[in-house]
C-alpha cells in the first residue's frame, strides 16, 4: 500500500550517471532508465509512468543546476511525496556539498552524499530530511575545506558568509547526539556561533496577466520569507510583519500562507503578522504566501488598468501594424517605484554594508529599500513557428537577440539604461516563402472565405484595415491575413527589483525573546538584516 522509494539516480549535464543509490527492491539501473526517460518528448513531465518495463516503473524527475535527478518506484506512491523528497535531497545536498550543486562536487564527496542519502531514506521509507538533524548524524570531515573551496567566494551572501568558526563548532558537535528527547526535530543540538546574525529575506515573484486592452486579468505576487539564523543556543524569535494598510489587515494581504513547522500557528492566528518560532540553524524558508494585487477584481468591471498595479514596468504590444500588417511593436513604460521605506530598518541595528551588499539598512547604495533599482530587464516575445525571420528590429534602448527561425525574441535593457520613461521595439516579420502563383491558384477558396466573412457576424481586423487602402487592396488584405498568423500573441517581461516588494509588506522587527531563549550570552546583540526583492521571471505577460 505505501509505496517505497526504490532508487535515486543523478546524471550530470552530459547525461552521464554520476550516482545511483538503491534503497530497496530491484529497480532499473541508471543506464537502462535514461533512454526510457529521454524518449518522452520535451518538455518532459516530472512524473512519467513506464508501463512496459519490468517491473512497471514510476519515474519522478527534477532538473537542478544542470543535474538530472531521477527517482523510481515500482508501485503506487504519492507523487507529491516523491517530488517533495527530491526537492529536499537537492536542498540538503546544496547545504552539505555546497551550492551551486555541480557534478564534480557530488563526485568528490561521495562519502558524505552516501551518508546523507542513507539517512534520508531508510529502505524506501523517507525518514530524516531536516538539514539540522542530518548535521547531527552525518560525518563530514572535509566539509570546511569544501566550503572554502567551493562557495566562499568574496561577496557571496547566505550561510557561506558565516564566519568559519561557526562551522567548526558544527562539526565538533557531531556525534554528541543528545541521548534523550530531542527538543526540536528541526534544530540541532549545541549550536554555537561567535558572531550572532539574523537575516530576513523576503522575495516576491510576480505573476501578472494583462488582457490585450491592457486591463489586468490576474495579478499575484507569490512571496517567500527566507530566514537565516546564526544564533547560539536555542533562541526564541519574534518576527513582526506589517502591510501598507496596517497590521490588522495583514491576513487579507498575505493570503493562503504556509509555514515552516517551527512557526507557532496559534500565535499567528491570534495576532496575524506575528511569527513566533525557534529557528533551525542556518538558512531555511520560514513562510510562503501570496498577494492578490487586484483585490477588487471580483467587485466589477473595467476601472482597473495596468497603472493601478504600480508595477515598475508596464508593457503594451501592438500587432498587425504597417501597410501589410507585418510589423509589431512592444512598448515599455518604466516607472520608479518607491521603496519599502526606512522605518523598518531603523528599528534594526544597522550593519556594515560591505559585508552583505543590498541588504536593507542605511546608506544609499543602489538596491536598498531607499532607492530600489530595476535590474535584468528582459522582454521575451515568443514567435509562432511559421516566422522565418525578423527582417527588421529597432529598439529605442537596449539590444535584441534573435536567431532566425528561433522561438523567441529577447530584448535586453541593461540596468543603466533602465531609467524612467518609455521604450519601444518595433519588428517586422517575414513568414515562410510563399510562391505567389501557387497562392493565386487557391484563390477562389480564399475569395469565398471573404464572402463568408462579410455575410456572417464577424468582421476581422484584417478587413477593417484593408478598407482605407484603395490600391492593391486585395493583395494587401491577403498579406495582412497571412501576416496575422505570424504575429506574436504575447510578450513577457522579466526583471528584478531590489529593495521593493509588490505587496508593500514590511518587516517591522525581529526580536529575540530573551525570556524563552536559552544559551545566548547576556547582552548579545545579533546583527540583523532585512532584504526585499521582487522578481518577475517572465511573470508579466501582456497578450495581444
Amino acid at each position: 500500500m505505501s509505496g517505497a522509494v526504490e532508487a535515486l539516480h543523478i546524471y550530470d549535464e552530459h547525461n552521464r550517471p554520476i550516482l545511483s543509490h538503491i534503497y530497496t527492491g530491484r529497480p532499473l539501473s541508471a543506464p537502462q532508465l535514461l533512454p526510457l526517460y529521454m524518449s518522452h518528448a520535451q518538455p518532459r513531465p516530472s512524473f512519467i509512468y513506464l508501463p512496459n518495463t519490468s517491473p512497471p516503473t514510476l519515474v519522478f524527475s527534477l532538473i537542478h543546476s544542470n543535474l538530472l535527478f531521477l527517482l523510481t518506484s515500482s508501485s503506487e506512491i504519492e507523487p507529491l511525496l516523491a517530488l517533495e523528497f527530491l526537492h529536499r535531497i537537492i536542498d540538503v545536498l546544496e547545504e552539505f556539498v555546497g551550492s551551486p550543486l555541480l557534478a564534480h562536487k557530488v563526485e568528490s564527496s561521495y562519502d558524505v552524499v552516501a551518508q546523507l542519502l542513507n539517512e534520508m531514506c531508510d529502505a524506501g521509507a523517507v525518514s530524516t530530511t531536516e538539514p539540522n538533524a542530518l548535521r547531527d548524524v552525518v560525518e563530514v570531515e572535509g566539509w570546511l575545506n569544501k566550503l572554502l573551496g567551493g562557495i566562499n567566494i568574496p561577496g557571496k551572501t547566505g550561510f557561506a558568509s558565516a564566519p568559519s568558526s561557526s562551522n567548526m563548532s558544527a562539526i565538533s558537535s557531531t556525534g554528541s547526539l543528545a541521548a534523550n528527547t530531542p527538543a526540536l526535530p528541526w534544530r540541532r543540538a549545541n549550536v554555537r556561533h561567535t558572531s550572532n546574525e539574523l537575516y530576513v529575506d523576503i522575495v516576491e515573484t510576480l505573476s501578472v496577466t494583462l488582457a490585450p486592452s491592457g486591463r489586468p486579468l490576474a495579478a499575484f505576487a507569490n512571496g517567500t520569507i527566507a530566514f537565516t539564523s546564526k544564533i547560539s543556543g536555542v533562541p526564541d524569535l519574534l518576527l513582526n510583519i506589517s502591510s501598507p494598510s496596517g497590521k490588522q489587515n495583514i491576513n487579507s494581504v498575505m493570503q493562503l500562507p504556509v509555514f515552516h513547522p517551527c512557526v507557532r500557528l496559534a500565535r499567528w492566528k491570534e495576532k496575524p503578522g506575528e511569527m513566533s518560532f525557534v529557528p533551525p540553524d542556518g538558512r531555511f524558508i520560514l513562510a510562503g504566501y501570496e498577494v492578490d494585487l487586484l483585490p477588487f477584481q471580483n467587485g466589477h468591471v473595467g476601472s482597473t488598468n495596468a497603472s493601478n498595479l504600480k508595477l515598475p514596468v508596464q508593457v503594451e504590444v501592438k500587432t498587425g501594424l504597417g501597410p501589410t500588417g507585418s510589423d509589431f511593436e512592444v512598448r515599455l513604460f518604466i516607472t520608479k517605484v518607491s521603496g519599502q521605506g526606512n522605518s523598518s530598518s531603523s528599528a534594526l541595528s544597522s550593519r556594515s554594508s560591505n559585508q552583505l551588499g543590498g541588504r536593507g539598512g542605511f546608506g544609499a547604495q543602489p538596491g536598498t529599500s531607499s532607492t530600489p533599482t530595476l535590474e535584468d530587464l528582459v522582454v521575451t516575445i515568443p514567435l509562432p513557428t511559421d516566422v522565418r525571420n525578423l527582417s527588421e528590429m529597432r529598439a529605442s534602448r537596449g539590444d535584441t537577440t534573435y536567431n532566425p527561425g528561433g522561438e523567441n525574441l529577447e530584448w535586453h535593457i541593461p540596468a543603466k539604461e533602465a531609467v524612467t520613461g518609455g521604450a519601444t521595439l518595433r519588428c517586422t516579420v517575414a513568414g515562410p516563402l510563399v510562391d505567389d502563383e501557387d497562392f493565386e491558384s487557391n484563390g477562389f477558396r480564399l475569395d469565398g472565405r471573404y464572402d463568408y466573412d462579410e455575410d456572417t457576424y464577424q468582421s476581422t481586423p484584417a478587413e477593417s484595415e484593408k478598407e482605407p487602402l484603395k490600391v492593391d487592396e486585395t493583395s494587401n488584405a491577403r498579406k495582412v491575413a497571412q501576416n496575422k498568423i505570424l504575429m506574436p500573441s504575447s510578450a513577457a517581461v522579466s526583471f528584478s527589483v531590489k529593495g521593493w516588494l509588490a505587496s508593500g509588506i514590511k518587516v517591522e522587527s525581529v526580536v529575540i525573546d530573551t525570556k524563552k531563549s536559552r544559551g545566548i550570552g547576556e547582552g548579545v546583540k545579533p546583527y540583523k538584516g532585512v532584504k526585499y526583492l521582487t522578481i518577475s521571471r517572465g511573470g508579466i505577460e501582456a497578450r495581444c
Binding site: 505505501s2 509512468y49 503506487e76 546544496e94 509555514f259 500573441s489
Partner: protein
C-alpha cells in the same frame, strides 16, 4: 512552499557558475585518479584510520559509479569493528548494498554489529539496528527480530525509531516473523515520542494495513501526535487514518427536529452513540460526525498550512473522503496555494485540484484567476487549467464567464495547434453547460472553421455539431450558414460534419429545404471529394430522397399497391444473390415512376447511386447498396425512416478527467489515469466504503486508552511549544521517563484483542499475553531492571519455541 535552493538562487543571482566549474575542474579531477584494486585493498587493510577511511571513500565512489567493488568485500567488512564512527558508517553503507551478493561473508560481520547494539552511543545503536535489518540475508531474520525487540526498550527514541523502521525490513526477510513483529508494533504505536509513533505507522502500513484492530487503542494518541510528526510520518498516518475512519465510523446523516427528539434518541441508542446525540440539537439534515472522527478532522486542520505539498493534498483527501462540506471548503484554498510551488509540484497539484473540482466546482469559482493559462505553461499544465476553467464556468457570474470565454478565444487564435484545439474543445464544453452563452461560443467556433488549419476547422465543426444537436430548433439558420461554407472548407472531416448536419435538417420546411440544393451542388463535385465526405453525401442523398418519398406518400395513397409486391418479393432474395440483384430492384423502382416526368430529387438520387457504384471504396459501395435496398420500395419507407431519421442522442462531451474519478486524491494512479490500468497502478487500493451502521467496531475500544489520553488532552500544539517542557526534560532527564511505554496502562485489553485476532496462533499468544501481563505489572513498579529481565525471558522463550 519554495525550496531553499530555489530561493537562494534567486537571491544570489550573480552566481559565478562558470567560475566554480572551472575551479573545480582543476582541483577535483586529480583526486579522482583511479587506483588499482591492490592499492585500495592495501589502504583498507592499513592500521591507520586515515588510510582506511581513504580506502573506503574510494570504494564508495566506485559503488556509486556502478563499478564492481565486490572484490573488496572481505577487506571492507573487516573494518566493521573499528571504533571510528566514520569508518563504521561507511562500512555499513557498503554492507547494505553488497551483503546480498556475499551472504556468507556478511554473516561474519553480524556478530560485531550485534555488539554495537549495546554501544553506549545511541547513534551507534540505532545505526547498527538499521544496518542489521537492512542486510538482505534471510538467515538472520530471527536475530533481527531479537534486535528489534531489544530496540523497543531502548532509552533513546532514535533507537526506537530505528526499531520501528526495521520491522518492515524484517518482514521482507521472513514473513514468518509476523506474529512477533505485530507484537512489537503494538508497543511502538503507543510510543510517547511522536517520531517513533510515526515510524511505527509507516511500518504498520507496510506489513499489516488490514489489522486495524491493533489501532483502536492508539487511535486518539496517534491523532494527537499527528501534528508534531515529521512530514513523512504525517503522510503515512493520514493515509492510515483515512482508511481507518472509513472502516470504523459509519456515515450518518440525521434529520433532527427539536420536537421529535425523543424518537430519534431511541433510534440512535441502538448505535451506541449517546454522546453525539446530546450535542446535536437543531438543523434539518446534518451529517453527523463521530466525535473521534471529528477529533481527527479538527486536529489535522493546521496541516493545511504545511510547507509540504503532499501533506496538504493528504489532508484534502481526508476531508473530501471523510469530512463535511465545511471541511472540504477549508482545504480548497491551501490546494490552490500549491500552484505557486515549483512547476513539478504545480503539475501534480493541478490533477488533484481537477479531481476535487469535478465534485465541487462552485467552491473554486473565486480562484478562477489562478487558472489563467500563461504562455510559459507546458502542455500538461495548460490542459488541466483549461479543464478547470470549463468546469467552473457554469458556476461563474456573467463577468467571470466573459473573462473565461475571452481567455479561450485568445488561445483559440494562437499559434500552438494543440493549444488551439484544446481551447476549441473547451469552448464547446462551456457552451454545453450553459445555453445562454452558447450563442457567443458558437460565434467563436464559427470563426475557426475558416481557419487555414484543416484539423482545427474539423475540430471546431465537430464541437459546433454537438452544440447544434443539443438545441436543433434554434439552429436552422446556423446550418444554412454552415452549408454556405462548404465552398471553402477543405478538410474532409469538416465537410463531412457539415454535410451530415445538412442531412439532419433536411426534413424541416418541406419543399423549401436547402438540402436538395446542397446535394445537387455536391453531386457535381462528387468525384473530387474525399471518402468521409462521399459517405456523408450518400447519406444525405438517402435522407433527402427518403423525405421526398415520405412527402409524396401522404398525397397519392393509391400508387402504393402497384409497386409494392415486386419490391417485397425481391427483398429477401437480395442477401443471397450478390451483384445481380442490384440491378433487378433498380429496374423495378425506375420503372414505377417513369410514366410521369421524374421529380428532380429522384433523378438526383439515381445519379448519386450510379456515381457511388463505380467508386473505388468498398465501404462506400456497400453503404450505397444498403441505402438502395432500404429505399428500394418508394411506398414502404417505414424501415428506412427508422434507420435514417431516428432522433440522434444528444452527445455529451465529458470533461477529460472524468475517467479518473475513481482514483483517490493524491495517488499516482490519479495522475497516470487510464494508462495505469482500470484498477490503478500496482499497489493502488481504493478507499473502502463507509462501514454500515451497526457493523463498526465498538467505540469503547478506543476509550481503553484513557490513561494516556489524559496525559496530553490539551496538547494539540506544534512541537515548538514543547520547547519549554523539553528543556525541563533535558535537565531532569531520568531514564525511566523517556522509556516510551505510553501504552503501559492498557496492556491487558490490548492483549485480549490480540489474542482474539490471532486465534490461529492460540497457544503462543496465550503464553505471550500472560507473559506480557507479568511484564506489565513489573513495569508498573517502574523498575528498569525488571523489564530487562522479562525481555530476556521472552528472548529465551522465543528461541525455544522456534
Amino acid at each position: 512552499m519554495e525550496s531553499v535552493s530555489r530561493i537562494s538562487s534567486l537571491l544570489e543571482s550573480a552566481r559565478e557558475l562558470t567560475l566554480d566549474a572551472a575551479q573545480s575542474a582543476r582541483s577535483s579531477r586529480s583526486s579522482l585518479k583511479t587506483m588499482s584494486t591492490a592499492q585500495i585493498k592495501k589502504l583498507l587493510d592499513s592500521r591507520n584510520d586515515r588510510e582506511v577511511l581513504e580506502g573506503l571513500r574510494r570504494v564508495i565512489s566506485m559503488m556509486y559509479r556502478s563499478q564492481p567493488c565486490l572484490p573488496f568485500f572481505s577487506s571492507v567488512v573487516k573494518n566493521v569493528a573499528s571504533p571510528n564512527i566514520e569508518i563504521k558508517k561507511l562500512v555499513y553503507i557498503y554492507l547494505l548494498s553488497h551483503a546480498e551478493a556475499e551472504p556468507d561473508l556478511a554473516l561474519l560481520s553480524i556478530n560485531t554489529i550485534q555488539k554495537s547494539l549495546s554501544d553506549s552511543n545511541a547513534q551507534v545503536r540505532a545505526l547498527a539496528l538499521k544496518t542489521m535489518s537492512g542486510i538482505r540475508v534471510p538467515v538472520i531474520s530471527q536475530i533481527v527480530s531479537l534486535a528489534i525487540k531489544k530496540g523497543l526498550g531502548d532509552m533513546s527514541p532514535y533507537v526506537r525509531k530505528a526499531a520501528a523502521l526495521a520491522i518492515p525490513k524484517c518482514y521482507r526477510l521472513d514473513p514468518g516473523t509476523l506474529p512477533q513483529l505485530l507484537e512489537y508494533l503494538g508497543t511502538l504505536l503507543g510510543d510517547k515520542q511522536y517520531f517513533v509513533a510515526g515510524a511505527a505507522v509507516v511500518a504498520f502500513l507496510e506489513i499489516c494495513p488490514e489489522r486495524l484492530d491493533l489501532l483502536h487503542k492508539h487511535y486518539r494518541g496517534l491523532v494527537k501526535k499527528l501534528v508534531d510528526m515529521d512530514e513523512w510520518s504525517q503522510l503515512a498516518t493520514l493515509r492510515l487514518m483515512t482508511v481507518y475512519s472509513r472502516k470504523c465510523f459509519p456515515k450518518r446523516t440525521r434529520r433532527v427536529r427539536k420536537s421529535r427528539r425523543d424518537g430519534t434518541e431511541g433510534f440512535y441508542r441502538d448505535d451506541d452513540d449517546e454522546q453525539e446525540e446530546e450535542e446535536e440539537e437543531t438543523g434539518e439534515v446534518v451529517e453527523v460526525l463521530d466525535p473521534d472522527l471529528e477529533l481527527l478532522l479538527k486536529s489535522i486542520k493546521p496541516l493545511l498550512q504545511s510547507r509540504n505539498s503532499a501533506v496538504v493534498v493528504a489532508v484534502a483527501r481526508c476531508y473530501v473522503n471523510l469530512g463535511t462540506q465545511e471541511y472540504v471548503n477549508s482545504s480548497i484554498g491551501p490546494l490552490i496555494a500549491l500552484l505557486r510551488g515549483p512547476q513539478d509540484v504545480q503539475h501534480i497539484a493541478l490533477y488533484n485540484i481537477v479531481s476535487v473540482c469535478l465534485t465541487r466546482p462552485e467552491a473554486f469559482v473565486k480562484y478562477a484567476s489562478h487558472f489563467l493559462v500563461r504562455a510559459t505553461d507546458p502542455s500538461q499544465v495548460w490542459e488541466l487549467k483549461l479543464e478547470l476553467l470549463t468546469l467552473i464556468f457554469p458556476h461563474c457570474d456573467a463577468y467571470l464567464r466573459s473573462i473565461i470565454l475571452n481567455e479561450l478565444e485568445h488561445f483559440s487564435g494562437g499559434s500552438d495547434k494543440e493549444l488551439v484545439r484544446e481551447a476549441v474543445r473547451a469552448i464547446g464544453r462551456c457552451a454545453q453547460s450553459d445555453s445562454r452563452t452558447s450563442a457567443r461560443c458558437l460565434r467563436l467556433l464559427l470563426k475557426q472553421i475558416t481557419s487555414l488549419d484543416g484539423n482545427l476547422a474539423a475540430e471546431s465543426l465537430t464541437v459546433i455539431r454537438h452544440l447544434i444537436q443539443q438545441d436543433p430548433a434554434s439552429h436552422t439558420n446556423t446550418v444554412i450558414r454552415l452549408a454556405k461554407n462548404l465552398d471553402t472548407a477543405t478538410n474532409p472531416r469538416a465537410r463531412a460534419s457539415i454535410i451530415w448536419l445538412v442531412g439532419e435538417f433536411s426534413g424541416i420546411d418541406g419543399e423549401n429545404n436547402i438540402a436538395p440544393d446542397v446535394l445537387r451542388i455536391l453531386a457535381k463535385g462528387f468525384a473530387d471529394e474525399a471518402e468521409p465526405a462521399k459517405l456523408q453525401i450518400i447519406l444525405l442523398a438517402a435522407k433527402v430522397y427518403l423525405h421526398h418519398l415520405n412527402r409524396s406518400d401522404i398525397q397519392p395513397e393509391v400508387q402504393k399497391s402497384t409497386p409494392e409486391s415486386p419490391g417485397y418479393d425481391d427483398l429477401p432474395s437480395m442477401g443471397n444473390e450478390g451483384f445481380r440483384d442490384l440491378d433487378n430492384p433498380l429496374d423495378t423502382t425506375y420503372q414505377a415512376p417513369e410514366p410521369e416526368p421524374e421529380h428532380p430529387i429522384i433523378t438526383l438520387w439515381n445519379y448519386i447511386l450510379i456515381l457511388a457504384r463505380y467508386d473505388t471504396s468498398y465501404d462506400l459501395r456497400d453503404r450505397t447498396r444498403l441505402y438502395k435496398a432500404l429505399l428500394a420500395v418508394p411506398s414502404s419507407t417505414q424501415l428506412a425512416s427508422l434507420m435514417l431519421l431516428a432522433p440522434k442522442p444528444v452527445p455529451h462531451t465529458p470533461s477529460p478527467s472524468e475517467s479518473r474519478t475513481g482514483f483517490t486524491l493524491g495517488s499516482a494512479s490519479l495522475v497516470v489515469g487510464e494508462e495505469g490500468g482500470v484498477n490503478g497502478l500496482r499497489g493502488f487500493e481504493k478507499l473502502p466504503n463507509w462501514v454500515k451502521p451497526g457493523y463498526e467496531p465498538n467505540p469503547s475500544l478506543r476509550d481503553a486508552d484513557v490513561g494516556t489520553v489524559d496525559y496530553d488532552k490539551t496538547r494539540i500544539v506544534p512541537a515548538g511549544e514543547r520547547l519549554d517542557s523539553a528543556v525541563r526534560d533535558t535537565r531532569t532527564a531520568s531514564p525511566s521517563k523517556t522509556n516510551g511505554f505510553g501504552a503501559a496502562g492498557l496492556g491487558k485489553e490490548k492483549k485480549l484483542e490480540d489474542w482474539l485476532a490471532e486465534s490461529e496462533a492460540e497457544e503462543e499468544s496465550g503464553e505471550e499475553s500472560s507473559e506480557e501481563d507479568a511484564e506489565e505489572s513489573e513495569e508498573e513498579e517502574s523498575s528498569e531492571e525488571a523489564e530487562e529481565e522479562s525481555d530476556d525471558d521472552d528472548n529465551e522463550r522465543d528461541s525455544l519455541v522456534k
